[in-house]
């Protein structure tokens, strides 16, 4: 703007004082326009289609949580650092290890590799949301406790969520099918045998419960 005003076409007509006034006035108009255009943005009718509002309501573990989300923020970051749900772990942060697995509309996803804005209208389930209101553990959690399925257990919540998601799709898997179904998760303690034993027992518990 300053550059435009200083173009040398008619320098004699614009005094220094008048020029400063114009700059201040137009600056005020520009900043006021933000308020003028704010209302339609909130109604989802911004000038550019698909523009995104940072404040959102996220459905996490059955609760509606108001949260301010950066446009470049991943779901794992929002869950851990904005909503305090640190049961979801961040391992590789590159969709390789599976520690950040959560269910989005009952389907397992790597929460490190999806934007929170992408899932604004979907149901998110983390490991914190598995137990029932009276504190009874989810069958998969109970099976892990009973089988002592993990060593360090950093990968555990990811494995549990992947199993919960997989068992929804295939409630009666063989051990090999289960291994394939939760193959998107890594355990650096190499505890796979115990993990698979836990998860096979989890499938039994789930069937008994229904």
């Amino acid at each position: 703007m300053t550059v435009q005003a200083q173009t040398p076409q008619e320098p004699s007509h614009v005094s220094r004082r008048a020029f400063i006034k114009v700059v201040i006035a137009s600056g005020a108009a520009v900043s006021a326009s933000a308020y003028l255009f704010r209302a339609p943005t909130l109604l989802g009718q911004s000038s550019l289609p698909g523009a995104v509002e940072r404040l959102m309501t996220l459905n996490v573990n059955g609760q509606m949580r108001r949260v301010d989300v950066l446009k470049q923020e991943t779901l794992a970051t929002t869950l851990r650092y904005k909503l305090g749900l640190t049961g979801t772990k961040l391992g590789c942060d590159r969709s390789e290890c599976g520690a950040c697995t959560v269910l989005i509309d009952d389907v397992p996803h790597y929460s490190c590799s999806i934007l929170t804005h992408t899932v604004r209208s979907q149901k998110i389930l983390t490991v914190e949301g598995l137990e029932s209101a009276n504190g009874t553990l989810h069958p998969v959690q109970q099976a892990v406790v009973d089988e002592q399925g993990f060593q360090c257990a950093f990968c555990m919540s990811g494995f549990i969520m992947a199993t919960v998601g997989y068992l929804k799709a295939n409630p009666n898997p063989t051990r090999a099918e289960l291994a394939h179904g939760i193959s998107g998760n890594l355990c650096r303690c190499m505890d796979y045998d115990k993990i698979l034993r836990s998860m096979t027992r989890a499938a039994e518990y789930m069937q008994r419960a229904t």
């Binding site: 698909g50 470049q72 991943t74 390789e96 397992p108 992947a162 998107g184």
Partner: protein
């Protein structure tokens, strides 16, 4: 390079709900815009700070890009943002084009298939680890190929058609789609163009910085699979070091029409041996009219690897590719 676990650098995000709005955004921002589908390729680039865009256009809200439709000619049209899982689960695809189901099911891990899209799988960038680590190689605009130096580790790299860059195309669905003679539907604000799947991919001699014919402002909206090869004999095999997650060392996709033990026609495609999926037309011509037997299979395998130029560490890909093509012609059950 150290792995950065911090939040990605800032970008402006758009979540359009129609293809028209998407194209308008891509037209407005051109080279500043990055198309985000599943994000499995995207986020590595953005998180590692190796590529950066001012604007990210997220396709997750564009309903018309999702789903598999049957077309009037008996083929199918796959929306580019259909997830791999939804493609795998589709009963009609499984019945008529099981090669596509197989290829999609062998991609990466369950979570990645739940999110990754077909359009993303075919349009993804190469996985050359020098390039993806942010080295300023030819493909990144520099003037050296780090994967082709005397000390380079290049086990995963190209056997064919290398031109300065020796990276390969890592897609599993791409060779299956080429074997089915699929057509890629590309839209921009100027209109629509349809290219053969085979011509969708480009090598470094055409443009060293792109993997596909997509130009800024263009969007792959759908993939049409004609009925031509529906119900033909199919073969797909992927060899990788880990039986999950991993990219192919070599994969092969073949469609064959066989009558009375004679191969009447075929399309044979191998990927991860060049910067683009390689259709082996010389092999197709050679096996046409031949009986489907061991002799033909052996001949096809030998012919397939003619002209291969191995690098220091990827010589093993030659027998691997030879045997995969051989098995494709034999059509034996997969191990």
């Amino acid at each position: 390079m150290a792995i950065i676990h911090d939040v990605m650098p800032v970008f402006e995000l758009f979540q359009p709900t129609t293809v028209d709005d998407t194209l308008a955004l891509l037209e407005t921002y051109k080279k500043d815009a990055w198309v985000l589908a599943g994000g499995l390729d995207t986020f590595d680039w953005l998180k590692d700070r190796n590529k950066r865009r001012k604007v990210v256009v997220d396709l997750s809200g564009v309903e018309e890009l999702r789903g598999v439709k049957t077309t009037a000619d008996g083929g199918i049209e796959i929306g580019a943002a259909t997830t791999l899982t939804n493609l795998v689960k589709h009963p009609f695809v499984k019945e008529k084009y099981p090669i596509l189901t197989q290829a999609a099911e062998l991609v990466a891990s369950p979570q990645i298939r739940n999110q990754g899209t077909v359009g993303g799988n075919v349009s993804q960038d190469t996985r050359c680890w020098y390039y993806r680590s942010g080295w300023s190689c030819y493909r990144a605009g520099g003037n050296i190929c780090y994967a082709d130096t005397p000390t380079a580790i290049n086990r995963e790299h190209a056997l064919f058609d290398a031109n300065r860059c020796v990276a390969v195309n890592p897609s599993d669905t791409a060779p299956a789609l080429i074997a089915l003679d699929a057509k890629m539907v590309i839209r921009s604000s100027d209109g629509e163009r349809v290219v053969d799947a085979e011509d969708y991919f480009i090598g470094p001699s055409i443009d060293i910085m792109r993997m596909t014919v997509l130009r800024p402002g263009e969007l792959l909206t759908a993939i049409r699979v004609p009925a031509t090869w529906a119900g033909a004999e199919f073969y797909f095999e992927k060899v990788r070091e880990r039986q999950v997650w991993d990219f192919p060392l070599v994969n092969v996709a073949a469609t064959l029409k066989v009558a009375n033990g004679t191969i009447e026609g075929s399309r044979i495609v191998v990927n991860a041996v060049a910067a683009r999926p390689m259709r082996l037309t010389s092999v197709e011509d050679a096996v046409a009219g031949k009986p489907r037997n061991e002799e033909t299979a052996t001949m096809a395998g030998e012919l397939a690897v003619q002209g291969a130029r191995p690098l220091a560490h990827n010589g093993y890909k030659i027998p691997l590719m030879r045997n995969l093509v051989k098995r494709a012609i034999r059509g034996e059950a997969q191990a």
